[in-house]
Structures are given as C-alpha cells and as structure tokens.
C-alpha cells in the first residue's frame, strides 16, 4: 500500500479560513449532503442512507472501530415512540485530543453528519455529550447549533422534507468512564456514570429505555463526505479494511506535536519521523502508544511497516483506538510510564465491578512499589496475575483497558521492570 500523504489535502477539516461559520461552511459545499438526502431528485430513503454509510465502512473513531452504518442498521423499526442519537464527544482517553478540532474548526460537518444519521435512523432527538473541561468548545458548538437552527437545518420540517430533529449539547463534569457508551447514557439521564450490563444493547434499550445509537464525533463528521462523494470514493481513501481520513493526534516526544489529518493506513514511522518531525534531540523512540492509553504500547524498535489501521495494528500487537499516538523516547522508564497509566484507570474506574474497582488500585499500588525500588521479582508475576483477574470479567471494557497496557508493558519492556526490582537475596541466618 502506498499513500501519497505528502500531497494529501485535508477533507474532514479542510484548511479554509472561518469554516466554523455557517455561511463559510455553506459556501464551501456545506449542508449539500443534507440537501441531497432530504430533497430534490436525489432524495434518499433512510434505508438508502444506512446502506450507503454501511457500504462506506466508516469504522468508529471512538475506539472500537465498528462500522457505523452497520451499527445504524441495528436500530429496530420505528414504533412511533422516541429514539435517540447520542454523539460521543467525551474525548477523555489520555493521548486523545482530536474531536475538539472538529468542534473548533468544522463543527457543521459533524452537525450535518449527525442530522443525516438521525434521518437514516428516524431519530427525533440528538444529544451531543461533551466533556466538561471543553467549556470553550461547548460554547462553540452551542453557537454552531443555534446557527443551524436559524438556517432551518435543525428543528421542525427541515428543508420542507417533513423530517424534524432537535440537537442539544450536554456537558460532562469530569469522568472518563462517561465516554463508554452505556455510562454516557446514564450520565445523560442524570445519574452516576455507571456503565450498564449488556444485553440489552443501546439499539434495543438505550436512553430512557428507548432505541439509541451512540457515535463518536469524528465518525459522524465523515458522513457528509460519504453522502457527497459516495461509498466507493470513500473506500478508496487509506487502508482497504479501515478506510477514510482520520485525525491523528500526535503527542509526547516529537518535534511537531498536534492533530493531523491523513488517510488511515499511514506508516507509524512516517507519522512520527516525517509528519511530526521526529524525536527532539535525535533521541531514539523507546515506545509508542498508538491509539490512546488503552492500546498496548509498541516497542520503538518494532515499528517498521506498522500502519495505522485496525488490521496492521492488530498484527503488531496493538489497536487503532482513537489514533491518539503518544511517542516515548529512550529517556523514559517504562515503570514510571506504566504506573501513571495505571493511576489513570484507578482514578477513573466507576467502581461497580469488583475486579476493576479493586484491581486497578492493586495494579497502581504494586507498580508504585516497584517504582520506589521496593519491588521484588514476584511482583512482576503478581502484576500479570492481577491483569488476568481483571480481563474480560467486568461490565465494561475499562478493566481490560487498564490491564492491557500493564500486561504488554511487562511483555515488551520487561528489562525496565526487572531493573527496578530487588533481587531477593536469601541470607543464611
């Protein structure tokens, strides 16, 4: 696969001045996709929209990488009662800072995508859940939403099509777990952000017990591109099994950190060395976390040929996640790095499930012990065991997300851990 990324021009967030303003957005082809779907000769039925999006294979940009159109098709037939779309802008996974670029620079692409999604699933209410720390971005979204109402893209009888939908922002208040879709629903319902037991799945029983679909902000922002240019065109971008443009958030030890838009399937090494300008001071890459803190860290010396798409990353022993890439140079001790990740999950566990509630703390405390120089070799085995006690045994995936970075850091950077552990010496009394 060859990606001519050097000549790539952003399409999801194109470089157009003041694109966040609705007039500018419209002048540059904005809301064309919505018009195409809702009016004129090109008018599409909801099923046609679902099928087109399914065919385009927009894989969820929130972390799980699930085909958005396929997810939409799980919604039951309308029964006259309310149905909901919850847009996930919680963006709280360490290393992830990309949806905010959409809020700031191209909010209407997301709004347009969400309206089309609502139409496709016959939904009347859209909530946009945004983390509470993004106060400024929420304000921007509120302005954009209100502009869209004024122009008649939201509200009653949109473009005289008979289709109506409302959109509201909902502000989080500091809880990573609320990015998990069922926790997000509980949070929206004004409850503690406890993930729900599945089944029932959101499409069957979501917000207020009604059919609901949850999509990431970036996922939805891709929808107008698909409608305007067709699924076939979209599938031609980037990796075959994981197509489309993607927002790569690059952080850590690189010369030019930031959010970049390129096709999927980029070589990790290109992203680090070319796009982000390499590691400061010419230091070696020790580790890369490719898709947010939940994704297993890769060794810096095993990055050759690893591409940013689901298949390639699986092969390399990690995941695409949110495409938030954290680059770690050779000066960092992986014990400290892993300890801090564990601290995050310990802090963010909602506390429902025993393995997660007590396991995350045990991981952090054990790593801290090693970090302080009090660790023993058996603590490394213990860490593995705690991971096993947590993985696959909880209501949501946070426990897995907490265990994997530890398990894989131990697997791939064992020398760092061993170096910090005391060699137990048995003295003869």
């Amino acid at each position: 696969m060859n990606i001519d990324w050097k000549n790539y021009k952003p399409i999801l967030i194109p470089a157009i001045k003041d694109l966040h303003k609705i007039d500018v957005y419209e002048k540059n082809g904005g809301y064309k996709a919505l018009k195409k779907v809702l009016s004129g000769k090109s008018k599409m039925t909801p099923e046609e929209v679902v099928n087109e999006v399914k065919d385009a294979n927009i894989r969820g940009r929130g972390g799980a990488g699930f085909n958005a159109g396929l997810k939409w098709s799980f919604m039951p037939k309308p029964d006259g009662g309310p149905r909901y779309l919850a847009c996930n802008g919680d963006e709280s996974e360490p290393g992830t800072f990309k949806d905010r670029k959409i809020f700031e620079y191209n909010p209407h692409s997301f709004i347009e995508g969400a309206i089309i999604a609502a139409y496709a699933m016959q939904i009347q209410t859209i909530y946009v859940y945004i983390r509470g720390e993004y106060r400024d971005f929420i304000d921007m979204m509120d302005v954009a939403i209100s502009d869209a109402y004024k122009k008649g893209y939201l509200g009653k009888d949109i473009l005289k099509s008979g289709f109506s939908v409302d959109m509201y922002t909902h502000m989080g208040a500091g809880a990573y777990i609320c990015g998990e879709e069922s926790s997000l629903m509980n949070s929206l319902e004004g409850k503690r952000g406890y993930p729900r037991v599945k089944p029932p799945f959101p499409a069957q029983k979501g917000l207020w017990g009604r059919p609901t679909t949850i999509n990431n902000i970036e996922t939805l922002a891709n929808v107008p591109l698909v409608i305007n240019n067709g699924a076939k065109w979209f599938k031609g971008i980037g990796a075959e099994t994981h197509p489309g443009p993607v927002l790569y958030g690059i952080s850590g030890h690189v010369n030019r950190p930031g959010v970049y838009e390129y096709p999927t399937g980029m070589l990790l090494t290109d992203l680090i060395n070319e796009v982000a300008g390499g590691v400061p001071g010419g230091k070696k890459v020790k580790a890369v976390v490719p898709g947010g803190s939940s994704t297993p860290p890769l060794r810096g010396d095993s990055l050759d040929g690893v591409r940013m798409d689901a298949d390639s990353l699986r092969e390399a022993g990690s995941m695409m996640g949110t495409a938030g890439i954290c680059v770690v140079d050779e000066t960092v001790d992986m014990v400290d790095f892993t300890w801090r990740i564990s601290g995050f999950y310990h802090h963010e566990s909602c506390g429902q499930c025993t393995p997660c509630r007590d396991g995350t703390g045990w991981l952090e405390k054990t790593l801290d012990k090693i970090r302080r120089g009090d660790g023993e070799m058996r603590d490394i085995d213990l860490l593995y065991e705690i991971c096993t006690k947590m993985e696959g045994r909880t209501i949501c995936a946070l426990a897995d997300a907490a265990a994997w970075p530890v398990r894989y850091a131990l697997d791939r950077f064992r020398e760092d851990f061993e170096a910090r552990c005391k060699k137990t010496v048995y003295a003869l009394a």
Binding site: E348, G351, T354, D358, R393, I395
Partner: protein, 579 residues
C-alpha cells in the same frame, strides 16, 4: 419442554428466568453477593461466574449437531458470564465451579479482590456467622492475602439513622441497600457517593436515614457494613435459635423469624413470603421483640383492697369460677380480641357459650392513615378478620365505651388486648364491675383489672391469625414458659443441648421463662374447676373444632399453613342475589 444442562445434569424448565436463580431453586450452589431476587440486577460483584454455551442446532433437521464422538457441539460464550444476569435458553449448557476449573479460579479471584480492601475484622463484626462474604470465602476463596498495601480508608461507625449504623470499610459496593431504598421503600435516602474504590453508600449530608423500612438494608447487606443500632453486639448469630412466626403488631401478618437466646427474643427478621411481604418487613414490627421479653405479666395478679398483688394460679381459677357463679349470664360482658389468636378467641367464645353467654364483642384497632403503600396497613391488630370469622360483634370505640359503662354488666372478661388504651372511658364507670383480663403484658387495661391472668404471647404458643387479606397463618413457640418444655413440645426448634447434651448452646439458662399459660388452656383448667365439659388438649384440637364449625375455614390445618405458607381464605359470604 425447554432444556438446560448444568454441570452435566439435564433440567427441564418452562419459564425463562435467570440462570443463577434456577441454580439456587434447584438446590445447587453458586456464590453471589449483589443479586437479590426482589431487586434489579446490576451484576456488579462479578462473583457468580459460570461458563455458558449453547448447543448448536442443525438448521434443517432441527436436531442438535453432534461431534465425531457423538457429543453435542457446543458454542461457548468467549467470556465467563455472570449467572445472575444471564437469561436461560433452550439448549443452554452451564458449567459452574463444580465442573469448570476456570470458573473456580475466577470465583476465587473475585473474592481475593473483594478482600483486599476489606478490613477482615470478623471477630468484632456483628455479621460474622451469617456473613455471605465470610461463608463464601471459606468455601470458594483464596488461601491467603497477597495484598501488601494500605487499604482504602472510609468512614466507620456512622449512625445513618436511628436504627442503622454504617461501616463503609466493610462495604463491598453491591448496591443492594441503595437499590432497596430506590426500588422497594422508594425513600431514595441512600446513594453511592464518590467513585471507584472510594465508593460507599450514605445518606445526603444532614439527612437522617429514617426510612420506615431501613432495617431491611441490614438484612440484605451481604457484609457487616450495615448493622442494626439496636441489635449491635447483643448476640452472636450462632448463639440464637431461629423460629418462623408471624408479626402480631400489624394487620398485614408479615412473616418473620424470631431469634431467641435463653428464652429472650433477641431480634426479629422478615421471612420470605411472596404472597404477603416478599423479603421485607417494616422497622416497627421488629421492635415487637421487646413485647415478648419486657413488662410481661408473670403469675396471676389480683386486686386486694385496691392494690394489685400476685396470686397463685389456683386462687385465680377459683376466683374466676366464684365470680361467674355469682352473676347471671346476661350480666357477663365478653370482649374478644383482634390481637389474640383464632384459637384463643374461639376457646373464649366457646367456653362462655357453654355458660349461656352468646355475644362476644370486639373493637378493632384501626388508625386511619397509618398504613402505607408497602407493608403497613391501618389495622394495628393481626387478627381482626379472625374475630369477624368467629362472628364476634364488631363495635367501635364509642360503642365499646357505652357497653363497658352499662350498669347491667357485673363482670367483664377481656381477652389479650389493651382495650382500655383505645376506649375512652371513665374509671368510675368500671368500678361497679369485676374486670378480668387475660393478658400478655402489663397495660392500661391490666392496671384497671381486678384479676389479671397471664397468657402466652405469639412467641410462646401455636396460634393462627387471619390477616387483612384474609390469609390464615400461624405461629410456633420460640421460647419456653414455666410450663412448656421444648423437649416435649415437638413444635419447638431445638438447640444443641437438646440434641447433644452440650452446654455450648443457645439454651444455657432457664431464666426468662414467663409464668403464663395459653388462654385456651386457662379456660380448660377453670372449666375443670367448674366441672364444665370443655376438654381441648391442644391448639390443634381447638383448630379442628373451628374448622368443623366454620365453613370458610374448612380444610384449614397447621400442616397446610406450613406447607403453603399460609392459606388464602374467602371469608366474606357471597352476596345474596336479589331477584
């Protein structure tokens, strides 16, 4: 019929329920904490792990596919499942810890994780002995602790309300208590606060946990995080005997257990009855344990020159028989009781009938607005319907006052009831009469009585009570009187002393036995004195007489009441059809 295979055994089922409930219903074991059959299912403790799979059916033939060895092909769920939240399905295959090493390990893992932040202060914990965490750790837990870090500290000994105390460090976050106040009592007084391993349940700051059902949270808390302020440190569970009984402080007839030690009732807890009270009971009903222990009338009391003094039983019986002989039958006023058992009321009625007194009056104890939507009803008495079934004449308090002040009555007999506390009557109106009361406790009524005959309480006798919903249920003796002997009375639950002659037992002393006799038996004995043909030998005898005579009670027996958890009656005679 649908089939499910559990640990290689085949079971049939009709109704699709949860796998855990089915396992328990069929007498198998599986450890669990957060699940409660009468609450929503959060599946948060992750203790009830099982392996689950589905036998694969051939699309065309509809038969189960077989592998080369002729065994059914099973598609296993990739992860361990929680049995509490898993719906049963036809062709489902389940492996518990009995047949799956993986399950066994996972169950021990969860217990190890629960215990890392648990204080392990069982020696000073009230829950010890009936603690699911303790029991399951013995059965399924890991051997030692490998947790070497500081445990998370949380508030301890917090008085949440008048009756419940919280030790948040012992809490395992099962959320049963919160779900109870949200879903059953609906006071919403508890919530989990904070997040992660800092989580614990508590009331809002400044709010008192005065939920009238608050003590149910103590019952369902699977650890010693919630304990009863009253019962705390009073007795160890293994020192007590548990006897099924009926609440006699309200017309609902909540099913309860009486917990006794040395002939004292130490506490009362609800007993499951789907038809009456599910798993719950109001806090107020639990206070009744005091009624059985305190302020009891022990030995007859007689009024001499205005003073109440103790008397012998013989003297009491003679006094009654003399009194009765000295008055005419229409000078006797009989007052039955919605608080007394059906057997006692019937014996009372039947005994006096033989003396030519036919009418028995009673005044229900109803307080409008007292009831709630859950388990408390306006009727304070357990057996109002029993009185009605026996054809007693129902009069309200005003009318009762009138009857009591009626000069034509010379002797009044009041059965087991503090009648005078709810009937407004001047003392002087009673002066001209001889007042005999059959009583369990000292009350306003006994204070004014010329003769008080101590009778057994529902904790000491067999008695049936018909609740407001016309359900007849019965009690079993839980404590001895001076005259009962648990070794002879086979109805009583026995302790280790009885079985094995060991002194390390709940029955270590003969103290606290009340000098009282069941009302029906008192009447038999006075009858003997008077040569009256009244020869019941047991409450069973009395009940059989009742069931013979009253059609609505036909076929009622203790055996049926026990087996069927009480019997729903149809008391109200069918309305006559007017043509």
């Amino acid at each position: 019929m649908a089939e499910i295979i559990i640990d290689d055994k085949k079971f049939e089922f009709e109704e699709v329920g949860k796998v855990l409930q089915f396992i328990l219903d069929n007498g198998m074991d599986l450890p669990f904490f957060c699940y409660h059959p009468s609450l929503s299912i959060p599946a948060n403790c992750r203790q009830c792990f099982i392996e689950a799979g589905q036998m694969v059916k051939d699309r065309e033939s509809g038969e189960y596919e077989l592998d080369e060895d002729g065994n059914p092909v099973i598609r296993w769920f990739p992860k361990l499942m929680t049995a509490c939240s898993l719906d049963m399905a036809d062709g489902m295959v389940i492996k518990t810890h009995v047949t799956s090493e993986k399950v066994k390990v996972a169950q021990a893992d969860t217990l190890e994780l629960i215990l890392i932040n648990h204080p392990l202060d069982c020696p000073i914990c009230d829950q010890a002995g009936e603690c699911p965490l303790q029991i399951q750790t013995y059965k399924y837990g890991p051997e030692g602790s490998r947790f070497e870090h500081k445990k998370v500290h949380k508030p301890k000994r917090i008085q949440l309300g008048p009756r419940v105390i919280l030790d948040a460090e012992r809490c395992i976050n099962c959320t049963r208590c919160v779900r109870f106040t949200d879903e059953v009592s609906k006071t919403h007084q508890l919530s989990i606060v904070s997040r992660g391993d800092k989580n614990y349940p508590i009331t809002a700051e400044g709010q008192v946990f005065d939920d009238p059902y608050s003590l149910n949270t103590v019952d369902i808390c699977p650890v010693g995080a919630l304990t009863s302020a009253d019962f705390r440190f009073k007795a160890r569970v293994w020192e007590m005997n548990q006897t099924p009984s009926i609440d006699v402080t309200n017309g609902k007839g909540v099913n309860i257990d009486l917990w006794t030690r040395d002939n004292l009732v130490m506490r009362i807890t609800p007993r499951f009855n789907k038809e009456v009270n599910d798993h719950w009971m109001p806090d107020i009903g639990r206070e009744a344990y005091r009624l059985f222990n305190e302020n009891r009338v022990s030995k007859p009391i007689i009024k001499l020159d205005g003073d109440q003094v103790r008397s012998s039983w013989n003297n009491a019986f003679m006094t009654v028989s003399e009194k009765i002989s000295s008055v005419k039958s229409d000078e006797i006023l009989l007052i039955g009781s919605p608080y007394a058992s059906l057997e006692d009321n019937y014996a009372f009625q039947n005994w006096f009938n033989r003396l030519g007194v036919s009418d028995v009056y009673f005044t229900p104890h109803i307080e409008k607005g007292y009831g709630d939507d859950l388990l408390l009803v306006d009727d304070h008495a357990p057996n109002t319907n029993g009185c009605k079934a026996l054809g007693f004449k129902e009069v309200d308090a005003k009318k009762m006052a009138k009857l009591l002040s009626d000069e034509s009555y010379k002797a009044v007999f009041i059965l087991g009831d503090d009648l005078l506390s709810r009937v407004d009557i001047d003392d002087s109106a009673l002066e001209s009469k001889y007042l005999v009361s059959f009583a369990t406790n000292h009350t306003e009524t006994t204070k004014k009585s010329d003769l008080v005959i101590p009778i057994t309480s529902s904790a000491e006798h067999i008695g049936s009570y018909i609740n407001v919903d016309e359900r007849i249920q019965r009690t079993i003796p839980a404590k001895e009187t001076m005259y009962t002997n648990r070794k002879l009375d086979l109805e009583m639950s026995m302790g280790r002393l009885d079985h094995f002659g060991t002194k390390f037992d709940n029955w270590v002393s003969d103290k606290n036995r009340v000098d009282c006799i069941p009302a029906w038996e008192v009447l038999v004995r006075i009858g003997n004195e008077m040569n009256l043909e009244f020869n019941f030998a047991s409450p069973q005898d009395v009940l059989e007489d009742i069931t013979d005579k009253i059609p609505a009670l036909e076929n009622v027996s203790y055996d049926r009441m026990d087996k069927e958890n009480g019997i729903a009656l149809k008391l109200s005679a069918p309305k006559s059809v007017t043509t």
